[in-house]
């Protein structure tokens, strides 16, 4: 009987903890947005973050874009040729990339690179009492550390997505037209005919949403590294970083479904 009671107690405690965590996550979102309207506003810091999130991810994103485009070219050709519609390869590659693969894969790669780095950075600050120091200096740590990263990400991620799109579509062209012999005219003409403003709009909206998810989750995890355990060491930081990437990625994939269904 006592075992039953203990089980219920621990389940209840666990549920309360998770609820509290969710609440804290929600408040964090609020503070992150509130930071847009308060000092300190350091423009230079935002620029540095755009460089960190955007410029430093160019190679990874370009690389991923290229190989995604190439695979799409191959698979698309194979699938379409079963129906005799190889000429549609341009449409297939462009639409897949612009609507889905561009925003999602870019966000996932940048989360893995920049999201984890930001989480680690904030986690290290947390365990070294630097975030406490900011609070004691009457400086809002959310406005100082998190909001600039959000602004930078909202600027950088859509641009990176566009870069992915271009690289991907071009690589698909190289494989489809140069390698597999699809008619160059059909490829490009197909693209022009099928891609609409609504598709590009979807891609941009997605990358903006993914920006928010990536920054929100990654910085949250780093900001509170070790806080629940009361233990502030490197192990807490590395665990937070792993969590940040996993949860952000799941968030991006779930958010992707939601945005897609909303916009379709």
């Amino acid at each position: 009987m006592t075992q039953m009671i203990q089980l219920i107690q621990s389940l209840g405690a666990r549920a309360l903890d998770e609820l509290g965590d969710l609440g804290r996550l929600g408040l964090f979102f609020h503070y992150m947005l509130r930071g847009l309207f308060r000092p300190p506003g350091k423009f230079l810091f935002v620029v540095k973050q755009v460089w960190f999130i955007g410029t430093k991810s160019l190679f990874v994103v370009g690389f991923t874009g290229a190989f995604t485009g190439m695979v799409l070219g191959l698979q698309g050709y194979y699938t379409l040729s079963k129906f005799g519609s190889e000429g549609m390869l341009g449409s297939a590659v462009a639409l897949s990339i612009i609507r889905e693969l561009g925003p999602v894969l870019t966000a996932l790669m940048v989360t893995g690179r920049a999201g984890s780095a930001m989480c680690a950075e904030l986690g290290i600050m947390r365990i070294d009492e630097q975030i406490d120091a900011l609070e004691c200096m009457a400086i809002d740590p959310h406005a100082y550390l998190v909001t600039p990263r959000l602004i930078a990400s909202l600027m950088a991620l859509p641009l990176l997505t566009a870069f992915f799109d271009v690289t991907g579509i071009y690589s698909g062209y190289v494989i489809g037209v140069q390698l597999l012999g699809v008619n160059e005219g059909s490829y490009i003409e197909g693209m022009y005919k099928s891609v609409e403003w609504a598709d590009v709009y979807m891609g941009i909206v997605k990358s903006l949403c993914f920006s928010v998810i990536m920054i929100w989750i990654s910085t949250y995890k780093g900001f509170f590294a070790g806080v629940d355990e009361g233990n502030f060491g490197p192990e807490q930081v590395s665990r937070a970083t792993t969590d940040a990437v996993v949860v952000s990625s799941i968030g991006i994939l779930v958010g992707n479904y939601m945005v897609t269904s909303l916009l379709l």
Partner: protein, 264 residues
């Protein structure tokens, strides 16, 4: 508690989860004096400090600052309080991506409209005060632990605080540097009338600089008074602490031997 106490602690009880770490603390911090809070590791002195700087909410008991109820402080009042205080954290808590001068300039840049040049000179003055002249362009990672701590003190002094909180000043410092720091703290009190609160377990420093000593043990105030009064205390735990006597061996030898000799 005297009428001239800048901070009054009445019946403060604090928990970490369900664990009680402070029991009904009653303590007054006199204005313009050095109060040292000391005790063994785990006695609750760091928790008490965190309450005084607003990093931990008071769940039971009251804190008064200048006669005003700290618990009733809204965001603005808390902000105003924090602009009057400086905090030196145990590791110095310097921001890693900035030079020493930039570190000290952070609160000045956020809270004042002083010109860059004025702030630069103020930072150099504070660095000279802590014996770090010439290191203004160094990054924290280029410095030893002791130097980082001194730089942290310079930053804590940046806004000319009325109240200075110091968490374990001597830890990690060689005796000569520690003595220099002690001397500086006394000088700050005497020249500027700064109220200084030091949390430490270093006996020598404590007796040298304190106007009032509070000895904590297991979350309770064991003894409170001037250095002479504490030295004259007859309470066995206080005497043990002052004489740096190791705990009496209370281990149960039979269970120890049993554990060793038990077949594994």
């Amino acid at each position: 508690m005297a009428a001239d106490d800048i901070i009054e602690i009445r019946g403060l009880t604090s928990f970490y989860g369900r664990r009680k770490v402070l029991h009904d603390i009653r303590l007054g911090i006199p204005r313009n004096g050095v109060t040292v809070i000391m005790g063994r590791s785990g006695c609750g002195k760091t928790t008490l400090l965190r309450h005084l700087i607003g990093l931990k909410q008071t769940s039971r008991g009251q804190l008064f600052v200048d006669g005003q109820d700290f618990g009733a402080f809204g965001e603005d009042a808390l902000k105003r309080y924090r602009r009057r205080i400086g905090v030196l954290f145990q590791s110095g808590a310097l921001f890693n991506s900035m030079t020493l001068r930039e570190n000290i300039s952070v609160p000045l840049g956020v809270h004042t409209k002083l010109a860059d040049e004025t702030i630069r000179i103020m930072a150099l003055i504070k660095l000279h005060l802590v014996g770090l002249s010439g290191f203004d362009n160094y990054m924290p990672s280029q410095l030893s632990g002791g130097m980082r701590k001194r730089a942290g003190l310079a930053r804590a002094l940046a806004m000319d605080p009325e109240i200075l909180f110091v968490d374990e000043p001597s830890s990690g410092l060689d005796p000569i540097t520690a003595a220099g720091l002690d001397r500086l703290l006394v000088e700050l009190k005497e020249t500027l009338g700064m109220t200084i609160i030091v949390v430490t377990h270093e006996l020598e420093s404590a007796f040298l600089i304190a106007d009032q000593l509070a000895v904590l043990d297991e979350g309770r105030v064991l003894a409170l008074g001037s250095p002479d009064e504490i030295r004259a205390s007859t309470d066995p735990k206080v005497v043990q602490f002052l004489r740096r006597e190791a705990d009496q061996e209370e281990t149960d030898h039979s269970s120890y031997l049993e554990g060793l000799l038990r077949a594994g």
